[in-house]
């Protein structure tokens, strides 16, 4: 009798245990945060986030900025770099204006950060939505994203010059250039190429970089200026050909990506005779009105992220320019880049009418 009771009790307990396991799984998302609070090693004295940090992505899910933000979240969580959890929130409306306005309105809130892409400059200039990087506090530049001129591998063009000569010979509005969004970086580069080479493309805007790469493989467009990471899968499969990278010098990564080529084997557009260079900022900003201590915490945090193996691998896979900047140096860079964008967009006729 006693034995039987014990057995039943043990059975009950195992059922209970299983329930708890399941419950833990369900509540997992919430619990992770709590677990980190308990497990994190004590950090050096100084300011630390006081509640979960909201990491705003001013772009849709699945894009370049979103991938980077989610990777950062993963690295910070996995390596216990911060006591508070980090929550990635996409605010993509109005070409990212939604996300930037949210940071602008959160003046003085040190628990919010935003990752930027070129829309930090292009969106206010093209749409007239009232924000400027001066409404935010620059924290750090994480990397610069490259752009590459791609064509379908079935086409005969081996160099940028051959392709652009063909486009010139065909006359204006014959060759189609696909890109992400309108009046944003892809179209700015397209206009710059048109000016440099004396050609005229039909620019076809798509919603995301992945779409553009696939449209190029399907030969619905003739070329694209995708970021390396957006087209690398098709490049490796031999469906796309890289003609040149829009930078003054070649990318530094020398390990083989395709069967025969490394990122370093792609000529720079400068040496290919197309004097266009453009790099896109992947940087972190905070709301205005935060203290230096608070900014320093995040600078320090992202410095630690840069040291991790995951981040280094991500930089190489995506062929990023891994320049890091913070403080006055970064602010100066942002200032300069804004005026470059203003000039480029004025020339292209993309500025919003007041």
């Amino acid at each position: 009798m006693t034995q039987k009771t014990t057995a039943t009790r043990a059975g009950n307990r195992s059922v209970l245990l299983r329930r708890i396991c399941l419950g833990a799984g369900i509540a997992g998302a919430a619990i992770v945060g709590a677990a980190i609070v308990g497990a994190a090693p004590a950090l050096a004295a100084g300011w630390e986030p006081t509640k979960p940090v909201e990491f705003i992505v001013p772009a849709g899910t699945g894009g370049g900025a979103d991938q980077m933000a989610r990777l950062l979240q993963g690295i910070i969580t996995k390596n216990n770099l911060m006591k508070q959890p980090m929550i990635v929130v996409n605010k993509s409306a109005g070409a990212g204006a939604e996300g930037f306005l949210a940071i602008k309105e959160a003046k003085g809130d040190p628990n919010k950060i935003v990752i930027t892409l070129s829309n930090l400059f292009t969106t206010p200039l093209a749409t007239g939505v009232p924000f400027n990087w001066k409404d935010l506090t620059p924290v750090a530049m994480l990397a610069l994203d490259q752009f590459v001129l791609w064509v379908n591998a079935d086409t005969p063009y081996k160099t940028a010059k051959e392709y652009l000569d063909a486009a010139k010979a065909a006359g204006p509005n014959k060759f189609k250039m696909g890109g992400t969004g309108s009046k944003q970086e892809d179209q700015i580069i397209t206009v710059a190429v048109e000016k440099a080479a004396g050609v005229k493309f039909i620019y076809v805007p798509f919603k995301g970089g992945g779409d553009v790469a696939v449209q190029l493989v399907g030969k619905h467009i003739d070329s694209s200026v995708n970021n390396p990471i957006e087209a690398v899968a098709q490049w490796r499969a031999g469906q796309l050909r890289a003609l040149c990278v829009f930078d003054g010098e070649r990318m530094p990564y020398k390990s083989k990506v395709t069967a025969t080529m490394s990122w370093n084997d792609i000529p720079s557009c400068k040496e290919a005779g197309v004097g266009v260079d453009y790099l896109m900022l992947r940087g972190i900003f905070m709301p205005a009105g935060v203290t230096k201590e608070q900014v320093d915490f995040y600078v320090d945090l992202f410095k630690k992220v840069r040291e991790t193996a995951e981040w280094k691998k991500f930089m190489e896979d995506g062929a990023f320019n891994a320049t890091f900047m913070s403080g006055p140096e970064f602010t100066k860079w942002v200032e300069k880049t804004e005026s470059t964008h203003k000039d480029l967009m004025r020339e292209a006729g993309f500025l919003a009418k007041p």
Binding site: Q67, L71, P205, A233
Partner: protein, 497 residues
């Protein structure tokens, strides 16, 4: 039979206790996510993605894809019970599912919905197993003109949905297009119809409109009828599953058609939502009981659910084989793949055999596990209808409000939801159909984008829609669908004469 041995290898990968446990957790989480309107599969997967960074990639994708299956199943529950679609792809399920619940056939409707979902998914996985490389090449043929032709076909196969005046249908659809136009315009990069209000930048999200129009609108109507809940309580036990299963084989043709529509829309990538609408429209057109659709026909539940699940499953194929996501959830999964160090694209099938075939095997097992979980819960779900309306109504309103808020984390969206609720109430009172509005809202801006991209490519020449066999035949089919009522009349006259 190379695929078969690869598949069995995949089963061997999946069938570890750890992976099976993850699968179960994923399904349960997915169902919960699917039930809550607003918290879509994409959000759910995005929130849980960081949890998986420490797992092996295969285990991680098994859990995340099971959340996805669970959400596909769960979306049907609230559509049938309360006329509130938990997910965009279950809007079409409300058309006949909710009337069935009102007639006391909630158990039957749920069983039909779940079983059809499983059937759709199963055939889609079979297709992925054996035809993946072939199908992936087909997807590459879709450029902007082809996409527009597909959207046109969806709209055209849906015309004639409204039982009332065709002008009311048209008015409703046009209002949907107008609402879809608010916000950012991809082609020019300008804000439209925002009147200087920054909050309108987000546009009118389809989910908020659906929650308001269907959920809140329904509650307002019930309140007018003196809080009497029209849902009759029926005998609820597991026998309803068996008795419904006996009825299902009779509708094999509808299932087959819906599966094909779903697979096709999933690959192209139109996605699960247009697939469910198109499938419902086509089933109504083809069925001999077409006139009774909307009054609680089981076929009207089978068609959209089969197609939605087939599309949701096959949407993963372009993601794996091409690196383009066929749905928002697939887009988040794609981000996950990159973080785990896997590169989606043409080489994934070659370089990462374990991963790919493990995932495909988990599609079979995950869907089966999902079906078992949800079917055993049918009596439980149906029993919710026994709760008095005066108690359940406030709960629904709160859940709706949370759902509307989660879409963009914006308070204003809750007010929009209320506004849409009032609109839904008047629509029903004045006998305007809601479905065309919803359809136009969800597909309107995508159709517009692809039309304008096409016009850029062709430099304004409309003949591009007949420029190759693929786009030509889809456009032709669409126009035939549009003029079918007229055509069938003419043919009938000719026969009589």
């Amino acid at each position: 039979m190379l695929e078969l041995s690869a598949l069995f290898h995949g089963f061997a990968v999946v069938l570890s206790p750890f992976n099976m446990l993850l699968m179960l957790i994923g399904i349960v989480l997915g169902v919960i996510i699917g039930v809550l309107p607003g918290l879509g599969g994409a959000n759910g997967v995005a929130i849980l993605l960081p949890l998986t960074f420490t797992m092996p990639p295969t285990s991680a994708i098994i859990m995340l894809s099971c959340i996805y299956w669970g959400a596909l199943f769960g979306g049907a529950i609230t559509s049938v019970l309360f006329n509130i679609p938990g997910e965009p792809w279950s809007v079409a399920t409300t058309f006949d599912g909710y009337p069935m619940a009102q007639q006391g056939r909630a158990g039957e409707a749920l069983t039909a919905a779940f079983t059809s979902s499983f059937v759709g998914a199963f055939f889609a996985v079979l297709m992925i197993t054996f035809l993946a490389p072939l199908v992936a090449r087909f997807a590459l043929k879709f450029g902007p003109p082809e996409f527009f032709a597909v959207y046109l076909l969806t709209f055209c196969s849906f015309i004639g949905m409204g039982k009332g005046s065709p002008f009311k249908t048209l008015a409703s659809m046009m209002l949907g297009f107008a609402l879809a136009a608010v916000g950012m315009d991809t082609v020019t990069g300008q804000l439209r119809l925002t009147f200087g209000f920054h909050d309108l930048m987000r546009g009118f999200d389809f989910l908020i409109a659906v929650i308001g129009l269907f959920g809140i609108g329904e509650i307002l109507l019930s309140m007018e009828e003196g809080l009497s809940f029209t849902g009759k309580t029926a005998k609820i036990d597991l026998k309803v599953v068996i008795s419904t299963w006996k009825k299902l084989p009779a509708y094999w043709l509808t299932s087959l058609r819906s599966t094909l529509i779903g697979i096709w829309m999933g690959i192209t990538p139109g996605g699960a939502t247009p697939a469910s609408f198109m499938s419902y429209g086509v089933a109504k057109r083809m069925s001999k009981d077409g006139g009774k659709f909307g009054s609680g026909q089981i076929e009207g539940v089978i068609a959209p659910e089969t197609a939605a699940h087939a599309a949701g499953t096959s949407a993963l194929l372009p993601m794996l084989a091409l690196g383009i996501p066929g749905s928002p959830t697939a887009a988040v999964l794609l981000g996950g793949l990159l973080i785990w160090g896997l590169q989606p694209g043409p080489l994934l099938f070659v370089e990462q055999k374990d991963f790919v075939w493990g995932l495909i095997a988990s599609m079979y097992l995950g869907n089966l596990a999902g079906l078992i979980v949800v079917l055993t819960c049918v009596p439980l779900f149906a029993a919710i209808l026994r709760v008095p309306f005066s108690i359940i109504a406030p709960v629904i309103v709160v859940i709706c409000a949370i759902g509307a808020y989660t879409v963009h984390n914006a308070m204003l969206d809750i007010w929009f939801m209320m506004l849409f609720g009032v609109m839904g109430y008047f629509f029903k009172k004045l006998d305007y159909p809601l479905a065309p509005l919803v359809l136009a809202l969800v597909l309107g801006d995508r159709a517009e984008d692809s039309f304008r991209q096409t016009m850029l490519i062709s430099q304004g020449d409309l003949r591009i829609f007949y420029s190759n066999w693929l786009v030509g035949s889809i456009t032709g089919l669409a126009l035939m669908m549009l003029f079918w009522p007229v055509l069938s009349k003419v043919i009938g006259r000719l026969r009589d004469a």
